[in-house]
């Protein structure tokens, strides 16, 4: 009996003391905190820890053993929700801050819709009294970890103006062309800008060779069938195999994402002739000159790396970016085979690479090789070369790395 009376007194006192303090809370942050019943709790309804949620989510808040009233209403055992996003609990003896991480529901709301970026986030509820101060003891929910599915994040496709179009100026639809084709791109109603430059009503060309249109809601792939012209080029030269091919243009924005609506040309069909007269010039040119390599092609060591200490018997692994591997003798654009140079200077790049113990050819298209090296320091270098072992133009060549071959651990002391 006495305890209940005491508690009622306390609440009355608290209410009386707090009432005139509503205005003064800012000056007196340490004002008395409203008491909460011991079994009070707040929680998220229908949201479990570790859940994966869409970017735009409706959250519902529950409370037990307390009542919800709007902020500013002084009534025992009441309060309103605060949603803490990606933040820990604030100081519990002061009013809860109000910002993007601390969302107040001072109208007594019990649900809300939030939009979160892709990734992992934490959510927590904290009950506050009429002055937004947590109760004594504080009433808060457990921290809920959620993961936002990036698929649901609405990636903003850059809008395209009405009437904008891309088209192929050259070659014409149905044309019969030589293997080396000059393709010219046209654009009307928009401007060209390099990839990475976010400028309204602009984009850069992507040439689709022998492939249907990619999905419009993600980046245009970058491969041999989807050629990017990220420097806002308006023409290119492609080498095609004899036969029928299709060409199509698709404009992409600064992030290589098609516009909304997508701007693409109609598909044109061309026939690449295979007459001996046309075959002869490239062969002659190849004998004299070097095969072209794409500008972003690179050859490098996956293992070992520069300065590494290796065993005398080590497998050297070759990496190749932006080109493909083809055995020696195979003529195919953007391919070549590896050559490993051991302890020699870079040879002249305009003639076939020598073949000896210091210049190892991988004419079968190998991409790794176990070699035996003497103890001490060695240099290794990779060069890609065409079907006739001649480096490309520009040459696709790795840095010359230094490795140290470990002397095998000899345990003479223990072998006496």
């Amino acid at each position: 009996m006495y305890r209940i009376f005491f508690r009622v007194c306390l609440i009355i006192i608290a209410t009386i003391t707090l009432d005139p303090h509503i205005e003064a809370t800012a000056q007196q942050p340490a004002a008395a905190r409203a008491p909460s019943p011991p079994n009070a709790r707040v929680f998220f309804i229908g949201l479990n820890d570790g859940a994966t949620i869409p970017s735009k989510t409706k959250l519902r808040f529950g409370v037990e053993n307390m009542e919800i009233v709007a902020a500013g209403v002084a009534k025992p055992n009441t309060g309103h929700h605060h949603l803490l996003i990606d933040t820990g609990l604030p100081p519990l003896d002061q009013p809860i801050p109000s910002d993007f991480n601390h969302i107040h529901f001072g109208g007594g709301q019990t649900e809300t819709e939030i939009t979160l970026p892709a990734g992992e986030h934490t959510l927590q509820l904290l009950f506050g009294d009429q002055a937004h101060t947590p109760h004594q003891p504080p009433v808060f929910s457990e921290v809920i970890h959620v993961k936002v599915d990036p698929v649901t994040v609405e990636k903003t496709r850059t809008p395209a103006p009405a009437g904008a179009s891309v088209f192929l100026i050259e070659p014409a639809d149905g044309a019969t062309v030589a293997r080396k084709v000059t393709v010219k791109f046209g654009l009307s109603g928009m401007e060209l800008s390099p990839a990475g430059t976010n400028k309204p009503n602009s984009g850069h060309h992507h040439l689709l060779i022998d492939t249907p249109l990619p999905a419009f809601d993600r980046e245009i792939p970058s491969d041999l069938n989807h050629v990017h012209f990220g420097r806002a080029q308006t023409e290119t030269e492609v080498t095609l195999t004899p036969g029928d091919h299709t060409l199509q243009l698709l404009l992409g924005d600064h992030e290589h994402l098609p516009h909304d609506p997508p701007i693409f040309s109609k598909v044109i069909r061309i026939h690449v002739a295979d007459s001996p007269a046309e075959k002869a010039p490239p062969a002659a040119a190849a004998a004299a000159g070097r095969r072209p390599a794409p500008p972003d092609a690179a050859v490098y060591f996956i293992y070992p790396s520069n300065g590494e200490r290796i065993y005398p018997n080590s497998t050297i692994r070759f990496g190749l970016r932006g080109m493909g591997v083809a055995p020696a003798g195979v003529v195919k654009p953007n391919t070549g085979h590896h050559h490993l140079l051991i302890d020699v200077e870079t040879p002249p790049l305009d003639q076939p690479l020598p073949s000896d113990l210091s210049h190892i050819h991988f004419g079968n298209g190998q991409t790794e090789k176990k070699i035996t090296l003497s103890p001490g320091e060695h240099t290794l270098q990779l060069i890609l070369a065409d079907e006739k072992h001649t480096p490309h133009d520009p040459p696709v060549i790795s840095e010359r790395i230094k490795v140290t071959v470990k002397v095998k651990p000899v345990r003479k002391r223990h072998r006496r």
């Binding site: 649901t152 496709r157 809601d217 190749l320 493909g324 591997v325 195919k332 953007n334």
Partner: protein
């Protein structure tokens, strides 16, 4: 401004189906299933340099492929003990006596590439490598990697 967008999965799956069907048909035309399987070299192994099993990777990442005891040749090139890589994404092993399908789940590296850049949605994915001969048919015995699981963040 409210943008109407179809959910990713819907747009994706119909596309995959169409591309898959089209390519499966072309592949069947080129190589009847009765073709003699190409034999692989003894001890041939295909494996991932990166990512490794269980790795956490960003959404855009490079897959680097290693091949032991055999060589890489572009599709269409007939040469003993060579083949080209196929990257199987989120899919089970394909029938080994038929050309490997070509779609979003079966990436052909037909120009003899030994690495490729993938963009995958966040979440758990599986990757597996399978070498195919000049007709995209797996060798006999097949040269395949183990299926690895990666976590895209």
């Amino acid at each position: 401004m409210i943008m109407q967008r179809r959910p990713f999965a819907k747009a994706g799956s119909s596309m995959i189906l169409m591309v898959g069907l089209a390519l499966a048909l072309t592949a069947l035309h080129i190589a009847p299933a009765s073709a003699e399987p190409t034999s692989s070299a003894a001890g041939a192994v295909v494996y991932f340099h990166s990512p490794l099993d269980g790795a956490r990777v960003p959404q855009r990442f490079t897959v680097k492929i290693g091949l032991k005891e055999m060589g890489v040749a572009p599709a269409g090139v007939v040469k003993e003990f060579t083949g080209h890589h196929h990257l199987l994404i989120d899919t089970d092993m394909v029938p080994l006596d038929q050309p490997i399908p070509s779609d979003y789940n079966h990436i052909h590296l037909g120009n003899g590439q030994t690495e490729t850049v993938l963009t995958l949605p966040a979440g758990t994915h599986t990757l597996q490598l399978l070498l195919g001969d000049h007709l995209h048919v797996p060798h006999k015995p097949p040269v395949m990697s183990k299926k690895i699981t990666i976590y895209v963040r």
